[in-house]
């Protein structure tokens, strides 16, 4: 990893231009990535933000749509402080907090089980991962079938709850379906973290007389934390923009489970692109903010690994 030492014969200027050349080369090499990113990330983003300041769709005297768009400033953002947007924000946030917490606990438990060596481990690992392999829309339909009025859930519980009607049960149904589907994903990431913990550490602890609980809280958990944080980050991003599960399982425009993405989708399908873009921009700011806070608060743990390796690797 050490840089080759330069001989005193080479002047500073030559060295500097070499560095410059190297930088240019580096830039050239990453430029295809930058171009792709600009096309698929920055262009849509800028287009959406631009769209959020325009309105379209007025009618002329003959009843035809007037072509073109009109600049309307922040008019489209009026809805951002409206009841519907706030309700969607609360739903999204609640959904995120509840599902991510449950998934971390269950996912870690799954990872611990998957990590143990026993007969049939491969089979167990494969079966735990099945929910994650099922497409979300399909799992949504499956759960819809389970939760319908005369479905499996009501038969097993001996209840007659209307899970898919608007209301608090709908929230629970979405949470259950999401936890079922995504815990294995968290489990997989945590399992990867578990597997890099050296067995000697546990052995040493056992020799020193640490109990199983002590070993879990003092050794496993701190060592698996970086992997867990990555899992939390991925899940946060995913959960904040959740759309498909509430849409398929409960249906669009149901107050109790309408998420921000659902609201944006609804506006866009009604050809209200202006408000849809305004909401989209607001969601983007919200997600970016949460990502930023997450890195600020927990970034040290996320990167401790990188920094340690950098120091040690030199």
């Amino acid at each position: 990893m050490t840089q080759p030492t330069r001989t005193g014969a080479r002047s500073g200027r030559v060295a500097r231009s070499a560095v410059k050349e190297q930088n240019l080369l580096a830039l050239g090499m990453v430029s295809p990535t930058l171009v792709v990113l600009a096309l698929v990330v920055f262009y849509p983003l800028v287009a959406a933000i631009r769209e959020s300041f325009y309105t379209s769709g007025g009618l002329d005297a003959d009843g035809f749509i007037v072509e073109g768009e009109v600049f309307t400033g922040f008019a489209n953002y009026a809805g951002v402080i409206g009841d519907r947007f706030l309700n969607a924000t609360l739903n999204t946030t609640l959904f995120t907090v509840v599902t991510v917490s449950l998934e971390i606990v269950l996912g870690t438990a799954m990872a611990l089980v998957m990590h143990r060596a026993f007969r049939g481990r491969a089979l167990l690992r494969a079966s735990i991962l099945i929910p994650w392999a099922v497409p979300t829309a399909v799992s949504g339909l499956m759960w819809k079938w389970i939760f319908q009025a005369d479905g499996v859930a009501n038969t097993l519980l001996g209840t007659d709850i209307l899970w898919t009607a608007d209301g608090v049960w709908a929230k629970l149904a979405v949470v259950i379906a999401d936890v079922w589907k995504t815990s294995p994903f968290v489990g997989l990431l945590v399992l990867a973290g578990l597997q890099i913990i050296p067995a000697e550490v546990h052995e040493a602890a056992r020799v020193d007389g640490a109990t199983a609980a002590q070993r879990f809280w003092r050794i496993t958990l701190p060592l698996v934390k970086p992997a867990m944080l990555v899992a939390v980050l991925f899940r946060l991003m995913d959960a904040l923009r959740v759309f498909d599960l509430p849409y398929v399982l409960i249906g669009p425009r149901k107050e109790s489970v309408e998420t921000l993405s659902g609201l944006i989708w609804d506006e866009a399908t009604r050809v209200n692109y202006g408000p849809a873009s305004a909401y989209g921009t607001a969601l983007f700011v919200y997600i970016a903010l949460i990502a930023f806070v997450f890195v600020k608060l927990l970034g040290a743990d996320l990167l401790s690994d990188v920094r340690a390796r950098k120091k040690g690797g030199a």
């Binding site: 959406a48 009843g63 749509i65 991003m237 983007f284 990502a291 990188v306």
Partner: protein, 421 residues
């Protein structure tokens, strides 16, 4: 510090992509209004899955006669919302991929006002049922050929009920008499989940109570006593258990299954259900016990809501001559009858309802004709999506008991007056 910046950028990237998936939208269509061309040649018809068998038969006949102007069918997604999205995207990119498109009756205004479909001139519409022609028109001009139509029909168990009820009071009376002997059976249901079907059922209830969901000038009239009576029929039905409480989750199919499982005495649905409910392959427990009648109302036969699909000419077609010729062929008396012989989907041509051969095949045709002629259209609005969302919002809160009927109706009246100006 450097590594942290990279991670921050990467995370921001993730959230950007996250947002890009959901937050972006297409820019509105712009450019010259009229495009496409009057050419001839092979054309494409974007049709629906449900009608596929019958349409295929007609196209076979056309293609045999017109080898140089063959018609190719593309099947649109099953759900109406998905169909609309697909057609809309196509129109916004001014694609000539489809020459003829199957459109729902409630899209006529939106598609016409956006100049996505051409006005049809010089067409004789007299052989078609008048409500279907109205549903294919925007501001008095025809923008699609009436093809399929339909309205709510009232299905009943003819093994338990001799004479179908004509009023809601009669219906309740029959239920009180019959239901005590039928375990697990409820009286009545329609489609009450929060989707387009709720708009249909809610406006049906108001029109059947003698109210006018929309008056003759297209304005909502929801603060009348009749409107309140219609909304209360549904709201009180849920409260009293006349409508089973799980019916708030019913779309067409959930309710059909319930009816076929002996869980409903009366059920409101479209004509398609007749075939399915009478299937003798064991899928329906009520096969042969299904009667069909016009829907009941407050003081006599009710007024259904008009549904159906039309065929429109895409403004972006480059072969409009062929498309128009095929459109005339498709909706001709001869071909629509050929369609009816292949599959049961109610058609817009009036003569088919009096055809003895067809009546023998589909005994519900006379009841259906009567119902269609009495049927009322849903609001015609360029922003129909906003209109139906407002109706569903109000209806759902009234039916679920979250709001009293008159409060919900007054609020809806205000919202709709703004949207339907």
């Amino acid at each position: 510090m450097h590594a942290r910046t990279i991670t921050a950028v990467a995370i921001l990237g993730v959230s950007l992509v996250a947002c890009g998936n959901t937050g972006t939208s297409g820019t509105a269509a712009s450019g010259s209004p009229a495009s496409g061309g009057e050419g001839r040649g092979p054309i494409t018809f974007a049709s629906g899955k449900f009608e596929a068998d019958g349409i295929a038969k007609i196209i076979e006949a056309w293609n045999a006669k017109n080898p140089n102007e063959k018609v190719n069918v593309v099947l649109l997604p099953e759900s109406a919302d998905e169909q609309r999205r697909k057609l809309m995207q196509n129109a916004q990119t001014k694609s000539d991929a489809f020459d003829l498109i199957l459109t729902d009756v409630v899209w006529t205004a939106e598609f016409a006002a956006n100049r996505w479909v051409d006005e049809l001139t010089g067409v004789d519409v007299s052989p078609f049922l008048p409500p279907t022609v109205e549903a294919a028109s925007y501001r008095g001009k025809l923008y699609a050929m009436p093809m399929f139509t339909g309205t709510g029909l009232f299905y009943y168990r003819n093994d338990l009920v001799k004479e179908p009820p004509k009023t809601w009071a009669e219906m309740k009376e029959i239920c009180d008499r019959v239901l005590p002997k039928q375990k697990g059976m409820a009286c009545y249901s329609g489609q009450h989940d929060k989707y387009e079907g709720l708009t249909v059922n809610f406006s049906e209830a108001i029109n059947s109570a003698g109210g006018q969901f929309l008056d003759d000038s297209g304005q909502p009239q929801l603060t009348t006593d009749a409107a309140k009576a219609g909304a209360s029929f549904l709201a009180d039905g849920f409260k009293s258990g006349m409508i089973p409480k799980e019916a708030i989750t019913y779309k067409e199919e959930e309710g059909r299954v319930a009816f076929q499982e002996n869980k409903l005495l009366f059920y409101r649905n479209w004509a398609y259900m007749y075939e399915a409910a009478n299937k003798k392959d064991g899928s329906s427990k009520v096969a042969g016990k299904v009667g069909v009648a016009p829907i009941p109302g407050l003081s006599g036969i009710g007024a259904g809501t008009l549904g159906g699909n039309n065929v429109a000419l895409s403004s972006f077609s480059t072969k409009k001559q062929t498309a128009k010729d095929f459109l005339a062929f498709l909706t001709s008396a001869e071909q629509t009858k050929a369609f009816a012989l292949v599959q049961s989907a109610p058609l817009a041509r009036a003569a088919l309802y009096d055809d003895p051969e067809l009546i023998k095949l589909y005994p519900y045709l006379p009841a259906l004709k009567e119902a269609i002629l009495a049927a009322k259209p849903r609001p015609s609005a360029v922003k129909y999506g906003d209109v139906t969302a407002a109706i569903q919002e109000a209806a759902y809160s009234i039916l679920s008991g979250a709001k009293p009927a008159d409060q919900g109706l007054t609020e809806l009246q205000t919202t709709l007056s703004g949207l339907l100006k």
